[in-house]
């Protein structure tokens, strides 16, 4: 540790005022504060004494993402070997997934951080840690078979048009990671939907088993919800889907970390699940009785463990920047996300994954909800005065 500190201190003057590389001050600053807690203090504005600065907040989110990441890596291997009808050890499953997922993560970080660094130097603002989260979220919400150039394209698009153009972390209005996914989804539908969820790279001397089907539950449930995987499999996550989204259990562990540390809002997580469940029940009531396999008959709790529902509720909807900022607004925001997801899944066969689109849509609605909540509050206080 000591020698790192010493090295950093020895090159520091070069990047300070009047130094040779003053232009790259913020680049240096990004690396220094990533390694060590900075000694600088707030010089203006409000002073809040808290160890939780932006960097630690973002690191907490990354720690909360680790369960889904590890499980996702294992599941990539598990799905691969299952398609070939092979039984291998837990470690082999994990290692196969590890080598598949690692390049996606590296490309996502390299492309996005590249844009961040360029903007930091040109616009002279510190590199913020927001991208460390976004850069890890992007690999978790894409299929494992995605070409690497698409990962890079998505990461660059969302960093540039979703964030930097508004001034960087904390100033955007749409979740950058979801924006990247939506962009790729609409631009290259062939790579982002259909039967692309399992890595089917060659196994010597083996052929894909006959029982293999590449369709996810989201694609199946529109036709016949009885043919979906069992609820237990969906909850544990041993199903096909984007890399990190399959396991509801891993997402709930992440939710626990986020809520206990106070980083994620429990109001949003809870109301998203409540909204989805209530809308699912409502659909059951409305479902046409003469069509027993209609998607509206799907048991309500299936919606909560299917696809990316839990992942979106825990990691995407709780994004403090793009969610509503008022407490009352958070309840409305969460309920609408959950309800809207189920509506889209049932009524929009073109886009089975309603979670991504409903969060993006609610990101657009969030400022208006906040405005209405505040106006209501003002009116209430005025009438009391």
């Amino acid at each position: 540790m000591k020698w790192i500190r010493r090295t950093v201190d020895s090159v520091k003057p070069n990047f300070g005022k009047g130094g040779r590389f003053e232009k790259f001050h913020y680049l240096f600053d990004a690396f220094e504060t990533f390694l060590f807690v900075p000694g600088t203090t707030t010089s203006h504005g409000v002073h809040i004494r808290d160890a939780m600065d932006l960097k630690r907040t973002m690191m907490t989110v990354i720690i909360a993402l680790v369960p889904t990441l590890l499980f996702g890596m294992w599941n990539v291997g598990f799905q691969h070997y299952r398609a070939y009808g092979m039984e291998v050890s837990l470690l082999d499953n994990f290692l196969f997934g590890f080598w598949k997922v690692l390049p996606i993560i590296i490309v996502s970080y390299a492309a996005g951080l590249g844009v961040e660094f360029v903007f930091a130097v040109l616009r002279k603002h510190p590199v913020s840690e927001g991208y460390l989260v976004t850069g890890l979220l992007i690999p978790l919400i894409v299929p494992v078979t995605i070409p690497l150039w698409m990962v890079a394209l998505g990461a660059i698009f969302c960093t540039l048009l979703g964030k930097e153009i508004f001034g960087g972390t904390g100033m955007n209005f749409m979740n950058p990671a979801l924006l990247a996914r939506a962009f790729l989804f609409f631009a290259f539908p062939a790579y982002m939907s259909g039967e692309i969820w399992t890595d089917l790279s060659q196994e010597p001397g083996r052929a894909v088993v006959d029982a293999y089907s590449g369709a996810t539950n989201l694609a199946i449930f529109d036709e016949n919800f009885l043919e979906m995987d069992s609820a237990r499999d969906m909850f544990l996550g041993t199903i096909q889907g984007s890399i990190g989204e399959t396991s509801t259990l891993a997402c709930l562990i992440g939710a626990l970390i986020l809520i206990v540390t106070g980083v994620g809002s429990w109001r949003i997580v809870l109301t998203v699940f409540a909204g989805g469940y209530l809308m699912g029940l409502f659909m059951n009531v409305l479902a046409p009785a003469d069509v027993p396999l209609h998607a509206m008959h799907t048991p309500a709790y299936y919606h909560l463990i299917m696809g990316g529902f839990a992942f979106g509720a825990v990691y995407m909807a709780t994004d403090p920047v793009t969610a509503t900022h008022t407490q009352t607004g958070k309840y409305i925001y969460g309920l609408l996300i959950g309800a809207f997801t189920v509506v889209l899944r049932v009524f929009n066969p073109a886009y089975p994954e309603g979670m991504m689109l409903s969060i993006l849509f609610m990101n657009v609605l969030a400022p208006l909800i906040d405005h209405l909540v505040i106006q209501q509050h003002i009116k209430k206080r005025m009438s009391r005065a």
Binding site: I165, M171, M174, N348, A350, D370
Partner: protein
């Protein structure tokens, strides 16, 4: 009934005049700096749309369409005046806007001041003429036309109020100087259209 509700929902969300057709962008971009003004303009657009589209429907079906004039004299049955529809539709819209302008000037002088030139410019708001032309092209009947115009109006209202609320939130954002104002509004509109794409496959 179900048919009418689906036309309404389709006009508001699935085929939103702004996010699906990008009609009426000028006032959409220019009057969306503050929520209150956007709210006022949105209401004015709803009013003008609901007033003019059914009126245009009547004009089209009882004056312009081929054979529409045969009630005057049977020899007029072959007269087709549809080439006049553009100019007549616009005149009806201009008249309705005059009406709205007078109402707002009398009752809400503050809003009148805030809307400025953009109130009379509703006349040339493409979304309103567009709604009338869609009505003509899709051959709606009277009930469908009324519901469709209401839906289009609400769609415009929703879009402009949403854009205004986002722009109010972004007031403290550190947007690069060349993009401030219109530039960023265009980018926001594009991103919002991406979010509205979620409706585009809905079967109604």
């Amino acid at each position: 009934m179900q048919h009418l509700i689906s036309i309404l929902i389709k006009a508001i969300f699935v085929e939103n005049v702004i996010f699906a057709f990008f009609l009426g962008m000028c006032s959409f971009l220019a009057v969306s700096k503050k929520i209150n003004t956007a709210f006022g303009l949105g209401l004015a657009v709803i009013f003008v749309m609901v007033l003019t589209t059914p009126l245009n429907y009547l004009i089209m079906n009882y004056m312009l369409k081929e054979g529409a004039l045969s009630f005057i004299h049977p020899s007029l049955a072959s007269v087709d005046l549809t080439f006049l529809s553009f100019i007549l539709f616009i005149s009806v819209i201009a008249g309705a806007v005059q009406l709205v302008e007078m109402i707002i000037e009398k009752s809400l002088p503050a809003l009148y001041g805030a809307l400025g030139i953009f109130l009379p410019l509703i006349t040339v708001n493409c979304s309103i003429l567009g709604t009338s032309l869609f009505m003509q092209e899709r051959e709606y009947n009277m009930a469908e036309t009324t519901v469709f115009s209401l839906g289009s109006g609400i769609g415009f209202f929703l879009a402009i109020v949403l854009l205004a609320s986002i722009r109010e939130r972004l007031r403290y954002s550190n947007i690069p100087a060349p993009l401030q104002g219109l530039g960023i509004a265009m980018i926001i509109t594009g991103l919002m259209a991406l979010a509205f794409l979620s409706f585009s496959g809905i079967q109604l």
